[in-house]
Amino acid sequence: MIKARNLTKTFNDHRVVNDISFELAEGQTMVFLGTSGCGKTTTLRMLNQLINPSSGSVYINGNDIREQVPEQLRRSMGYVLQHNSLFPHYSVLENIAVVPQLLKWDKRLIRNRAIELMEKLHLPEKLLSAYPRQLSGGEAQRVNIARALVAKPPILLMDEPFSALDTITRLAIRQEFAALDELKDKTIVMVTHDVQEAFEMANIICLMDKGRIIQQGKPADLLFHPTHDFVRDFLSDSFLQLALTVTHLEAVWPYLTAAVSTHSVQINLSVNATIAKAFNAVKDKNNWDAVIAITNGTERKTTDWAGLLQAYAQYKKKRL
């Protein structure tokens, strides 16, 4: 779907992006991760021609993007920045309507689509006539996402979309976002410097440093098979949390012991969920005795958080 070949960008003799290549299949999410100033934003902006590479090329569905009219290219890609990028003199509806209007959609269609998105993003419909200054940070960012999604672009580009929010709002929006059905088939490129965020959302992570991609691959690969010390160091701070984030219940399934006694609070999950997700669910219930029920096809096992941790420990032992 998206293919970048030997992208390089030089600002005043300084190689901000240095010969990077990557490829992303349809429906996948790629996250660029790295410290401030390593060239993430620059890389992202080369994908929709906001910046022209000094050398190298970008192909979308096999076509070189330089052969496209930049404005048309951009209208076919959703673009999300931090929440203060809403147009302050436009109402929420007018903000969401920007791209459809550029594409000359019918007025009623735009409105219906906006209402649909407001509902999906848990925004009250009456906010359609509000102005950005009247919104909370979380609401503004939901509108921002709606604005990017409204014209159903196959590709979504996001530059630190959640970084300006407080921790609690950020988690909430991120989870909401991950659950959006609108995103099912979207190809997403996202920039962040939040490691946890990257691991939760990415199919592929590109870890960057000083303009280069140090390692790209599945989150678990980066965590368990780092190719450079830089990668190991970068991830070491939150290793356990990340490990639980990349380990699915499926992996620990064989090590789950017999059922625990039933309890009034029960959490139902499938084996596709991650251990981190199971823990989060327990935390959300605010009840450490909660029972976790896991279904694997027709089979079903119950456990609790301590049982999960034991199973994980055994799984790790076997793998080493």
């Binding site: 906001l50 290219l73 209208r75 302050p88 007018e94 791209v99 550029l102 580009l157």
Partner: protein, 518 residues
């Protein structure tokens, strides 16, 4: 209290004329504003896109702003003549800087993230400009237009100097005539206009900018401006007279022309400095000027005979603080050295040398003294200073120089010059307050502008040279502690003037004949 009552009475008696001038004033201001917006806005936008032009363009607009308004008008008259055209051009040039600068700033300070988002969503650069940058810059641009409007209301008073009308006519007339009510009749509406405009734009700026409000604000503002601008563009046929502000308010001027001659000619107000040039260039047909002016000779002008005697004699003489004469007894003799030495044609000749041959007043003065055998090298100064004032025209500069040279040569006083005082009132007040010790004044002016006697007194004096001098001398000595020394000799009377050719063609020699022709 009495003062304020008479002010309102004065304004009430003039309200129609004042309304007309206020509209003229607004018309000039807004016309210039529209053109400045039409030019400044695109220029401001241009320099946000071509940053390397920003410094030179803002620089030039800034320099224009620093040219003194009178000087700017002076530069424009040879190019554009007199009237509304040069006035609007000058106002336009002053309004440019705030509009260009604020457009530039307003667009530049739009949040980069927002521009980035607009671009990222697929807006073209024109769409970004018209949908995002300009609307968000509107409050700042309006602030620029507001500044420009206030500047223009102020500067537009000077339009009165070049026959473009406006509230300056009363202001400058009042200043020259020592008439506070007249000054206020022009200044109060001007101040009021400035405040109203300020408030109007303030309110506009306060309106929250939304996609919808933006169009109503902009189109509303343009409508109002356009409405006022175009409503007093009119022209008329026939001969055109131009009189300076002081002339307009004097009994021995326009008021007398109207009451005694029933003068009906179309009239504009114009500054003394540009009046002769305008006549010479056929922009005006009749002016009220001074009979000894050097340009009379240079431009081939004919003075019309005052057959109904509205202009009293204006014999020039030094007007001196009596106290100064008493402390320095020799001054009396020295300042009277010129008495009777300069007749009408000699004065005209001296003025001609300065005005037309462009000799400096010093040189003209020194040459004259040398030729008369009155020149002496300056003596060492041991006795303090003697301040000589003058009004703001050539003849007065020359006379002031003559007296300065005499004082330096014949006394131990140190002559100091305070020349170019803008009118009778200013000179007279300066003299009374001791800011100056003497200036050359004219008997008729002293009589009508300062003493302002009753009609019966005027009838008794009957325009007689000696009786006017005696009346003025006696009254100033008794009531003002000021002394009129002996007349210098020439009579610089006010006179109506025409181009010699026209006067000959139309066969006009008197004011009455002129009035009939029109």
């Amino acid at each position: 209290m009495i003062e304020s009552q008479s002010l309102w009475a004065f304004i009430a008696s003039l309200w129609q004329k004042l309304l007309e001038q206020t509209l003229q004033h607004l018309g000039l201001t807004f016309m210039a504003l529209i053109i400045a917006i039409a030019v400044g806005l695109p220029l401001g936008i241009f320099i946000t896109k071509q940053k390397k032009w920003a410094t030179p363009i803002l620089g030039i607009a800034g320099i224009l702003q620093t040219i003194p308004s009178i000087a700017l008008l002076g530069f424009l008259i040879p190019l554009l003549g007199i009237g509304a055209k040069p006035a609007i051009t000058a106002l336009f040039l002053y309004a440019l800087l705030p509009i260009i600068r604020n457009t530039y700033t307003g667009i530049t300070i739009v949040d980069a993230e927002i521009k980035e988002a607009a671009k990222g969503l697929g807006m073209t650069s024109v769409q970004i400009l018209t949908k995002i940058e300009l609307p968000l810059a509107v409050p700042v641009i309006l602030a620029g237009i507001r500044t420009a409007a206030i500047i223009n209301v102020g500067v537009a008073t000077l339009a009165a100097y070049i026959a473009a009308g406006g509230l300056g006519e009363y202001i400058f007339g009042g200043i020259a005539l020592n008439n506070t009510n007249m000054i206020l009749a022009g200044a109060l509406p001007a101040a009021l206009l400035a405040l109203l405009l300020d408030g109007f734009f303030y309110l506009l700026q306060k309106i929250q900018i939304t996609k919808r409000s933006i169009y109503s604000i902009v189109s509303g503002a343009i409508m109002v401006i356009a409405l006022v601008s175009f409503q007093n563009i009119h022209s008329a046929e026939g001969l055109l007279a131009g009189f300076e502000p002081e002339f307009m308010g004097r009994q021995d001027g326009y008021l007398g022309l109207k009451s005694v001659y029933n003068f009906k000619m179309r009239t504009v107000v114009i500054g003394d400095a540009v009046m002769y040039g305008a006549l010479n260039e056929h922009k005006l047909d009749v002016i009220g000027g001074y009979s000894t002016d050097g340009r009379l000779k240079a431009f081939g002008l004919r003075t019309l005979k005052d057959d109904k005697h509205i202009f009293p004699p204006y014999y020039a003489a030094p007007l001196v603080r009596t106290s100064k004469l008493k402390s320095y007894l020799e001054l009396n003799t020295v300042l009277n050295l010129l008495a009777g030495k300069i007749n009408d044609s000699v004065m005209t000749e001296l003025n001609y040398k300065a005005d037309f041959l462009k000799q400096s007043p010093e040189r003209v003065a020194k040459d004259f003294l040398l030729q008369q055998g009155l020149w002496k090298e300056p003596q060492p100064t041991t006795a303090g200073s003697f301040v000589i004032g003058s009004k703001i025209f050539t003849e007065q500069y020359i006379l002031a120089q003559l007296y300065a040279m005499l004082v330096a040569g014949y006394t131990h006083l140190k002559p100091e010059m305070k020349t170019g005082l803008g009118g009778t009132k200013i000179c007279y007040d300066a003299l009374r307050n001791g800011n100056i010790d003497m200036y050359p004044e004219y008997t008729g002016t002293g009589l009508l502008v300062i003493l302002n006697p009753t009609q019966s007194v005027l009838n008794r004096l009957n325009g007689n040279r000696d009786s006017v001098y005696r009346y003025v001398e006696e009254n100033f000595r008794k009531t003002q502690q000021l002394t009129w020394l002996k007349p210098i000799g020439f009579n610089n009377t006010y006179a109506l003037m025409m181009r010699e050719k026209d006067a000959a063609r139309l066969n006009i020699t008197t004011i009455s004949q002129l009035n009939k022709v029109n």
